[in-house]
Symmetry: C2
Subunit: 465 residues, 2 copies
């Protein structure tokens, strides 16, 4: 039921069905993705995949690798993989807060590769396919959250292949049965263990999900068959990847399964009558690291500003206490990160950078910064305490100063959360900060992407230089 329902919903959704705010959310999501993919194109996790290993295996060059001043193309499978890696490697992408899925990476990386390969895909075509893919991965994610994540799956990629498959099926105009087979082919490729966090392989996950979803859709288009109940069957995706859990069927019905109309779930696939658009619940990271430490960075950056106003120096700090949500230490408790990738999982490093620099961008996760004496000194002053009363977007940071004073910031909703969203100007600053390090004309790229809706052929995105 859920598999067929998702396929038929995806097949029938049209651009004219999308409310203006959904289009706007999709454009912002794609814009943010493009900035991250271009910005991440120079990271070793991307360049090793591209140059040291996979380049000799590339097929006919029909799809661009983003972030290069000279055109650089691969076949669409490798383009999806490599752009997907790049889009995630700085942990700077977007977040569907209900599931902590970073939804655009797997979907957009697959879509842009296919769009360029097939040619003539308009901005509107891309937007509706992007929405379809994001809704698909977030709805199946909601059905298995949180057990699925808790047991150890990287939910971005384990749902991302399904989102990418549905999105590519949409852009290739697959029939409903073909789309259902694509969902099955994607569902059977479950990529992403959380154990890989802190290594290159974390970024491989959304890239591989993009590639797997793309593969699923093109094989289904060619007549490859899979299960017609891939999501909901006893030994189908939802049961297998969220074991042990007993109410998977009910959850799938809540989020996907019930036809629209009088019985539609308010949480189900969106239509004009009912349901909920998950893309509207997507948020954007102001800081390039796991979202659970954003409140602490926000607090520390505010304290940096306050210290500057009061002409205080770092040497005036005697002790730093951070009260945090329980997940913070579970996910980001690395006390002595050995490099930039590990530092993304250190609330201590990240908070220290907020205090010292007043900002946290990819530059603050360079290995040299992670290992600098100044950062280590401040980092080691930070004590983190779990406060179960705090929500995940809250933190309290207190500085004890050598003169006996204290400074305190209580962040009630971290910047970038749904309550304090990144506005277009903030997104643009983030985009330009990433893209101008890589391309010559970041402003032109930004302008074109803001106008995605009116683009005649999205292949133009590949020609940003």
């Amino acid at each position: 039921m859920a598999t067929q329902r998702l396929a038929s919903w995806a097949k029938s959704l049209e651009y004219s069905d999308l409310p203006d705010e959904v289009v706007r959310a999709a454009v912002r999501s794609f814009y943010n993705w493009a900035g991250c993919a271009i910005g991440g194109s120079t990271h070793p996790a991307t360049t090793i995949a591209q140059y040291q290993t996979l380049h000799p295996l590339f097929g006919p060059p029909t799809a661009s690798l983003l972030g290069h001043k000279e055109p650089l193309k691969a076949d669409p499978q490798h383009a999806a993989l490599i752009n997907g890696i790049a889009s995630h490697v700085h942990d700077y992408d977007d977040t569907h807060l209900d599931t902590i899925i970073h939804p655009t990476g797997p979907v957009a990386s697959a879509l842009l590769a296919v769009a360029e390969w097939k040619k003539g895909v308009t901005g509107k075509d891309l937007i509706v396919a992007l929405v379809v893919g994001i809704e698909a991965e977030c709805k199946v994610g909601l059905a298995v959250w949180p057990e699925h994540y808790d047991v150890g799956w990287h939910i971005t990629s384990s749902t991302g292949s399904i989102g990418a498959a549905v999105a590519v099926s949409k852009i290739l105009n697959l029939s409903t049965p073909e789309t259902a087979h694509a969902i099955g082919l994607a569902a059977t490729q479950v990529v992403g263990l959380r154990e890989m966090f802190g290594s290159h392989t974390k970024s491989f996950h959304p890239g591989r999900a993009a590639q797997s979803g793309l593969l699923a859709a093109i094989m289904a288009q060619g007549g490859y068959t899979s299960s017609e109940q891939a999501l909901e069957a006893k030994r189908g995706w939802a049961n297998v990847v969220s074991s042990p859990k007993t109410d998977v069927q009910q959850r799938l019905a809540n989020f996907i399964g019930i036809p629209s109309g009088s019985q539609a779930s308010t949480l189900g696939l969106a239509s004009t009558e009912a349901g909920r658009w998950e893309v509207l619940r997507n948020s954007f990271k102001p800081f390039p690291c796991g979202i659970v430490i954003h409140p602490i960075i926000d607090a520390c950056a505010q304290l940096n500003n306050e210290m500057f106003q009061k002409r205080l120096e770092l040497a005036d700090i005697k002790a730093i206490t951070a009260k945090v949500h329980p997940l913070v230490l579970e996910l980001t408790g690395k006390r002595t990160p050995k490099d930039g990738l590990e530092a993304k999982f250190s609330v201590f490093h990240s908070g220290a950078c907020g205090l010292i620099f007043g900002k946290v961008t990819p530059s603050e996760y360079k290995d040299s910064v992670v290992l600098s004496d100044e950062v280590i000194t401040v980092r080691d002053l930070i004590q983190a305490e779990i406060d179960p009363a705090l929500t995940a977007d809250q933190a309290i940071v207190t500085l004890a100063l050598t003169d006996g004073q204290t400074l305190e910031k209580h962040v009630k909703h971290a910047v970038g959360s749904i309550d304090v969203p990144m506005d277009d100007a903030m997104l643009q600053k983030k985009f330009l900060g990433q893209v101008s390090k890589v391309l010559s004309n970041a402003e032109a790229a930004s302008k074109a992407l803001w106008e995605l809706e009116s683009m005649d052929d999205v292949s133009a995105i590949a020609s940003f230089r």
Copy 2:
């Protein structure tokens, strides 16, 4: 521990460490795989992947697709995928009975593609890498069996990517740390839901496992990092894919983790002092279908012979009763299969063919045979009853004849089991039966493969025509 141990064991194993019987088991495994891959090359699950969908994406042609009278090459990733699909599609491959893993498909499909790409790989190189890969996948499989299979994973592919990664690491001469990273990259790509059984996607699983393992090894060779505890970590492979289970650490230690020497487990990685070679426990299918119905087919084929001796006709049969192991109806209980792929999951169709034709080969799973009146008539006479006293390689089939007589066969160990293994002559007959339908000179291919050990460059396998 398990990850590092497996990597260092694989790195250090040399051809001279292999007992003669291990070499012989490896040659037989590879021989059987090659016959299946060539025989399966004309099946739609293979040809759709090859021609209708992936052909335009092939990279530089350095690795052969088996089973073509004209040379047909792809990049090694696609060759591994497509030969892997072909090797499994008739359900005619090998079986490690302790885990029901079909071990050679993922490993050999990856290895031959890499060997041809890199050139100059000898038969001995291939054999030691094949053994390393088979041992790897079977040992990790033992650590999660049976919960992993029960929850719904297709254990051949979910362990196969790890086996393929270790094997390709071996043939590319990766260091121990690189091999460990390859294990992690493979472990994070978990392919294969049992829900896909009966569709094309079942065969996609070992193909994709081959491809994923190959990708893992070449990325690790280029410097890509993953976890160093990918198998045993709290949120690593074994825990995540066998949830809920509490003794994973102990099992990993039993099968992989304990260093050889006085404390070595008798079930652990084999060495001169201790351990067990899993490749010696590999068996070969006499019939192209799930191994649980082999005892029934064996009994029915014997009854066909007895009826022929007694000059009895099918019309003389009034009723057929099959007493079977409980798994038979769970896995192969399809009463009215709609096509050949579904018929492989029908004890009724398979038993009927044994009775009617006295043999069950890929021809007996053609759609036209599945839908023929004669087969359907006999199929519908069969009643299957679970008998918990029977082991998985046993069955009792009883024919009630119209004249009141009964004929009965009690198969105590099905042909192809460890107790009644396929000998070389039987393997050769099976090989020639498959290969002569596809290639002009099946005899020459057979002869060359039996002499694998002395082959100077295994690329010669690609030139069988």
